[in-house]
Amino acid sequence: MVNILKPCKTAFLVFFCALRLSAQQELMLHTMSDVWHSNTTNPAFFPENKKFILGLPGFGIDAVHSSPITFNDVFVKEGGRTTVNFSNIIDQLDPINELYFDQRYDIANLGVRLPGKIMLTAGYANRLSANIVYPKALPALLWNGNGPYVGQTLELGVKADVADWNEWSIGLGKQFGPLTVGLRAKYLTGISSLLTDPNHQFTAVSTSSDIYQLTLETDYAFYSSSIISAIDTAGLGVDITVVDQAKKLFSKNTGKSFDVGIQYKVNDRLTLDASVLDLGGKIKWNNQANYFSSHGSYVYEGQTLPGIDFINGVDSLDFDTKLDTINDIFNFTKTAGEYSTALPLRAYFGSSFKVGKRWVVGLSGYVNHRGVVGNTYAVGGSIRWKPKNWVSLGAMYSLNQRSVANLGFHLMLKPGPVQVYLASDNLLNAVSVKNSAAVNIRAGISLIL
């Protein structure tokens, strides 16, 4: 006998592992070409007149959830503990919800300007990209149980493309008069990955309005490397064994990608730029790489008692629900096998125009080609003010496919050789991360000589 009401806590956590991934497009950073870390958006960017730059840690996160739910909606303080609570969010979810998340840790990087207007760069970063599409029915079923959905078929299939990798890069820039061209090659070492199989993404639970007969259908499969090592559906619950996520600098999962960019100074006031990032980006996953698949159909109608036994009282009403059989339908088979994932392809373009000595206005754009979610884009207009040489303030209005009301900002300080900055494409969610459905923030520190 199983505990049919066993909370699928692991499933909750897996879901929130995704939900907690929130995000940004780094449009504001892109307008700050004098900030060293903006080099990550265009390899042609190199602070003017600087010969040696040591990039210290920088952190960027860009996360968006398609419907307006926030961190604080989900993680609720109750007494002295934080609880996961779906009560506040389920009604706000769309029938199909999208979540994408990009996270970037620039651990260290180096830039050197050589004679001949050549710039060399090298760096190490850790990146995470997650694109998840999930139906409202999934958290609703996990949270509410199937009781409220009698007479309905809930499709639960989640589409996901999640990857976490190290990025070792070396770049070369060359200035040709007003034109600077940058090229960066990146050696990628994958840490972990989860990719759903686009051909097998169906899972559904139906609860009949008759006497609640359950119909379970699954045609679902995904690849996983170094995230999930086993799925145990015994006891109706779904226990997912997660691989210890110790970060490794190198692994057997390798890949490469390229960034290219240009910057063109039209005149003393106007500068144009464009870049394409992660060209040909692909990682081949073969470390603890497995294919998990679940295929089956099962109808549970309860016990079938012979009427004659019932009438004669020779049988007993045995309420052993025998739902263990559900294991047969949700049982995932695990097959070892390598696979590849493509990195999201990103592109920036921008222009800036100096207005007087301390003001700069600009126009920027961003396109991201993602796998399971689809393309995202953003365009924005910015204004920047440098009241002093060591401080820069900026603002940006941008719009993207989700919102037309994004007011970004940046603050950059440069006390001596230290350059520190904080930027966001959305001021409100930057200062109130937990109350925003979208998060976009970038911060970092560098030594610039």
Partner: protein
């Protein structure tokens, strides 16, 4: 720049750095969700428990047929069902009624003795076949000479050879037994219902003599027969009265403790006689009455029987000697239904039993020329049967059933966190019968702990629609929701048996007769919703 300005500038730079750090930390710290627990909330789970198909035929077998082994439900070709309540088959072998003397001794005081055949009253034999037994002759020789001779019974022959055997008696030889001779296969033919025992005795000089009697007059010659068996007897059967059967048929459809109001369309009583006696037999109905609910006698009266002024009677068909029907069985059925009796009125009073007593009379018409027969296989069997086609109406006809329960499967529901449950009972009824039921949950001692419905019995099956012939013509779905608090559910989970009282009412409130067909069935299903408090602890 003055020192104050320089100081302010450093303070401002430091403050801004701190602000940046705080914002960055606030944005990025993960401790909240890493330590998060599942929030307390209530979830509701719904799942099916069981489905069962109840066939009306099985239900009727259980309700109507669980006490008497002689009851039978017969499914007719049109799927209607007939309920038979049958009495014991009273089987009377002819040899039980008409007993012939099997053993005896015939003294021969002369050399020829004609002895009447020992038959039952009113019977004289003209022909018989023996299937067993022995015959012996005993001689004593009072003379000093040897005696030789033979003895015989001329009416007996086997395969054309008469019963005749030689004997030799030595001088003064006493009680010399000749035999025993097996009589199996001998035929007896006598036109006068007598047997002739005779002998011929001779002295050594050839003189024929009669063996002298003893001094006291007792003969010195005897014929002795033992255990004679007749496989066939033919002769004249005169008038003779004898008891056939007395029996009681329990009508348990009307014997439940639960009250109900049942009307049966066209009840019928059948008397069936299977007769292989080869002479006319009349059944005298000495007693034929139903017994009512309160023990009152409800006499079954009608025109199915003839009446001789004193008793109802019926002449049973029989295999005729004249027609050469030896070995045949003749069946006589006598029906009493609403067309020829008051049985319909009686059944409206829900009688509980039928009591009947029948005697037999041979050659009731006193035919002096009657030639009949009987064999050792001749049997007259009489059975009374109450026959109820299951067509009628019922109001609150009751039945009971006890079912074992096993709620062990709910043990893992962790009842501490169950807030409430709600059972959903669904019936899809293809029978023309409403079922109003209550279930009492009982502990191991049989004590009622709780009941399924708070407010008394409920209609859990509503009758299917019926056509103008009273036949179910569709399916009626009934949904019954049974909510329970967690405390009540916990209490019920401890019970071991469910005692169900069900009350059956036919379609339209029992106001019209319906036909109960063997293929009528109902599906009963049960599902459950459980509300449970889920916590992260």
């Amino acid at each position: 720049m003055n020192p104050k300005t320089m100081f302010s500038k450093h303070i401002l730079r430091s403050f801004l750095l701190l602000l940046l750090s705080c914002i960055a930390w606030q944005a990025c710290k993960k401790s909240d969700f890493e330590q998060a627990e599942l929030g307390d909330h209530t979830a509701e789970f719904a799942f099916p428990l069981f489905t069962t198909d109840l066939k009306l035929k099985d239900l009727l077998f259980n309700v109507l047929n669980d006490t008497l082994s002689g009851d039978t439900i017969f499914i007719n070709p049109d799927n209607t069902m007939t309920l038979f309540y049958s009495g014991d088959v009273a089987q009377k072998p002819a040899t039980d009624i008409f007993k012939f003397i099997e053993s005896g001794l015939v003294p021969l005081s002369s050399d020829t003795v004609s002895n009447p055949i020992q038959t039952p009253n009113g019977v004289s034999i003209s022909q018989a076949k023996l299937s067993g037994g022995t015959m012996s002759f005993v001689f004593s020789n009072p003379l000093s000479d040897t005696i030789t001779g033979f003895f015989e019974i001329p009416e007996l022959n086997r395969n054309g050879e008469g019963f005749k055997h030689p004997f030799i008696l030595l001088p003064n030889e006493q009680n010399r037994v000749f035999g025993s001779f097996d009589m199996n296969g001998y035929e007896l033919n006598s036109s006068s219902n007598t047997l002739t025992f005779q002998y011929a005795a001779y002295l050594p000089n050839g003189t024929k003599i009669k063996v002298p009697n003893q001094a006291n007059g007792f003969p010195n010659v005897f014929a002795v027969f033992l255990n004679l068996k007749f496989s066939y007897v033919q002769g004249y059967w005169g008038y003779q009265l004898y008891p056939l059967t007395r029996d009681t048929i329990e009508i348990d459809i009307n014997q439940t403790d639960l009250r109900g109001d049942i009307k049966v369309v066209n009840p019928k009583v059948t008397m069936r006689v299977r007769n292989s006696w080869g002479f006319p037999t009349r059944g005298i109905i000495k007693y034929l009455s139903f017994i009512g609910q309160n023990g009152e006698e409800l006499q079954l009266q009608g025109t199915a029987f003839q009446n001789d002024g004193t008793n109802d009677y019926a002449d049973f068909a029989y295999p005729s000697f004249i027609a050469g029907e030896l070995g045949q069985e003749k069946i006589t059925d006598i029906y009493m239904d609403e067309s020829n009796s008051n049985i319909a009125d009686i059944f409206n009073l829900q009688p509980t039993r039928l009591v009947y007593e029948v005697d037999g009379v041979s050659n009731a018409q006193l035919d002096p020329n009657l030639i009949g027969f009987m064999t050792d296989q001749s049997v007259l069997g009489l059975q009374m049967r109450v026959e109820l086609v299951l067509e009628g109406s019922a109001k609150n006809f009751g039945a009971e059933q006890t079912l074992d329960l096993n709620f062990d499967g709910f043990g893992s529901l962790d009842s501490a966190n169950i807030e409430s449950v709600e059972f959903k009972l669904v019936s899809e009824n293809g029978t023309p019968v409403d079922i109003n039921a209550q279930i009492y949950f009982r502990d191991e001692a049989g004590t009622d702990i709780d009941s399924l419905f708070d407010a008394g019995a409920k209609n859990i099956l509503n009758a299917a629609p019926v056509n103008n012939q009273g036949i179910a013509s569709g399916v009626t779905r009934t949904e019954t929701f049974i909510p329970m608090t967690a405390a009540r559910f916990d209490r019920i989970r401890t019970t071991k048996t469910a005692f169900m009282k069900a009350y059956f009412t036919t379609a339209q409130g029992g106001t019209i007769p319906v036909k109960l067909l063997a293929d009528n069935s109902s599906t009963v299903k049960l599902g459950i919703k459980v509300k449970k408090r889920l916590t992260g602890e």
